[in-house]
């Protein structure tokens, strides 16, 4: 088996973390992982550059199918995304204590990997890493001999890229997530602080097509502001 190295970009991780923090109340999360892969001298590498949140419920075929097709169409229209393609699927479990990938995520990843070849990964957002604001926030799984995504990738093959203070950026991002549309500072007489929204495909469908689920540009700008 090829032992490829996997690097997780800060923007992708913070999007996954915000998605989990916003919707992770007893609901599983799912999303698409974008990146570049390179064969690199027999071992190869996968560089995760972005994440596209898809849903905060058990995914159904229409939701997954349309999200994937729209993401691929989006990649073809974006400048600066040359060589970027769908390289994985991410998930977070409904139960915080559960760290193994859930069955729907394994099924989706196995189905997607049939077309994507060996360079496909499944990321599971770790609740502990999220609470401690430590990067990388995911454990990485790759295909085993049974074609199921049950092989956990050793942590020495996984690294975080981006600003050195990734944990601090993550902590600040989580603090800016609005808790509800009615959020107000009781003592401050209704004033709201800055807020950082994250939108997934299902949110986009439910809010009448307004949310920027494909780009979540505000999150990228937030991370870039720390460079």
């Amino acid at each position: 088996m090829v032992k490829r190295s996997i690097s997780l970009g800060a923007v992708a991780q913070i999007k996954m973390a915000l998605h989990a923090a916003r919707h992770g109340f007893s609901a599983p999360l799912h999303g698409i992982v974008l990146g570049r892969s390179s064969p690199g001298g027999g071992e190869g590498s996968i560089e995760v550059v972005d994440a596209v949140p898809v849903c905060h419920e058990v995914p159904t075929k229409p939701v997954v199918d349309m999200a994937l097709r729209l993401t691929e169409a989006h990649l073809q229209t974006q400048k600066g995304m040359e060589g970027v393609r769908i390289v994985g699927w991410y998930t977070a479990n409904a139960r915080a204590a559960s760290e193994e990938p859930n069955a729907p995520a394994c099924r989706i990843a196995a189905s997607m990997a049939e077309g994507a070849g060996e360079e496909f990964i499944l990321l599971v957002v770790s609740t502990k890493a999220l609470v401690d604001c430590e990067l990388p926030i995911c454990t990485v799984y790759e295909k085993g001999s049974s074609r199921a995504f049950t092989n956990r990738v050793d942590s020495d093959r996984v690294s975080s890229t981006g600003p050195n203070n990734g944990g601090e950026i993550l902590s600040k991002a989580l603090q800016q997530l609005p808790s509800s549309e009615y959020e107000s500072d009781v003592a401050g007489g209704g004033k709201k602080g800055p807020s950082l929204a994250i939108c997934d495909y299902v949110d986009h469908l439910e809010d009448g097509g307004k949310g920027d689920w494909l780009g979540n540009a505000a999150v990228k700008e937030f991370v870039e502001s720390f460079r």
């Binding site: 159904t60 229409p62 097709r69 169409a73 729907p104 209704g190 469908l205 097509g209």
Partner: protein, 319 residues
């Protein structure tokens, strides 16, 4: 305390510092805003931390007894929702304090319901189950206690089978509980039992036949289950969904996906059976075209329009 007028909305009440008004508004509109309830409830009821770390309710005496009890109950539930167990316990203690004027006793079903919830939140599942068993012994048709028994099992890892059985038993004796059928559908989805989920959503549709969201979920479950018959049912329910609510974007996407799924199923049929589906194939192709036009119209003036057009063009080329 200022009177709440019809023009008072939640942000106005909150900005005015009308804590009682905020709690009343949230109760009346059945909103789930636990952080707001906790913030305003603590101020209204005078929550304070004792030297030993526990909490106590010192205020709220100027409210009428009925208002004070309602606020305590609401604050207790909201505290549990956000994980402030000590605050919830303080509310429970205040409710069961045994005041001579209070109609609440520790034997009352409503008090024990909150006690059960507090025990669940603190992880004492055996204790919570004991409370619910006692409630069911007093009243075997206590639906809340039956449902919480399912929730106690669902909260514990490794008890998924028992939880599903408990919910099944509840549905056998309360077949009209649409919310429970919805919960069972989600359990089925979580174990990838899409046929089971579709069965449950059919029951939900019986209770909410004009709800576009339910028809959408049912259509998606049929589409995911696969097979020709399910593909036709998926198409039917997603078409119903868009008819009930033309602004249901999820249903429009689902309708296109269901129609494409139907065409894929027909492709797999033998020649004879394929000929029998000719009319259905034409309908499916028209639905894809119609759905696509509606989606493009929906995204007029938006960046998504170009992406959707590209996606539909690629889909059209593959048909």
């Amino acid at each position: 305390m200022m009177a709440t007028g019809p023009e008072d909305d939640l942000p106005t009440l909150a900005a005015r510092g009308d804590h009682l008004g905020v709690l009343r508004y949230i109760r009346a509109h059945k909103l789930r805003e636990p952080k707001m309830v906790v913030a305003h409830g603590k101020l209204l009821l005078g929550a304070s931390t004792k030297p030993d770390g526990s909490m106590a309710m010192g205020g709220g005496r100027r409210l009428g007894e009925v208002e004070r009890l309602a606020a305590l109950e609401q604050l207790c539930m909201a505290s549990l929702d956000v994980g402030e167990i000590k605050l919830a316990e303080a509310c429970l203690d205040a409710l069961g304090a045994g005041d001579p004027d209070s109609p609440v006793t520790k034997e009352s079903a409503r008090y024990r319901k909150l006690l059960g919830l507090c025990l669940e939140a603190s992880g004492d599942f055996a204790g919570a189950e004991g409370v619910y068993d006692a409630l069911l012994k007093d009243n075997p048709s206590n639906a809340h206690a039956s449902k919480r028994k399912y929730c106690v099992l669902a909260a514990q890892p490794g008890q998924e089978e028992e939880a599903r059985k408990a919910l099944n038993d509840y549905l056998a004796s309360h077949p009209g509980d649409v919310a429970a059928w919805n919960a069972m559908a989600e359990v089925c989805l979580s174990v990838s039992d899409f046929k089971g989920a579709a069965y449950c959503y059919e029951e939900v549709v019986l209770g909410c036949p004009l709800d576009s969201t339910v028809h959408t979920k049912l259509g998606e479950a049929y589409c995911t289950a696969g097979g020709l018959a399910n593909a036709k049912l998926a198409r039917k329910h997603l078409a119903q969904a868009v008819q009930l609510d033309p602004g249901n974007l999820r249903a429009w996407y689902g309708l296109i996906a269901a129609a494409e799924g139907y065409l894929d199923e027909v492709e797999r049929l033998g020649k004879g059976k394929k000929e029998a589906e000719e009319e259905g194939v034409e309908v499916a192709k028209e639905l894809i075209k119609f759905g696509g036009e509606r989606l493009v119209q929906f995204y007029k003036g938006s960046e998504m329009r170009g992406i959707v057009e590209k996606m539909l063009k690629e889909a059209g080329e593959s048909l």
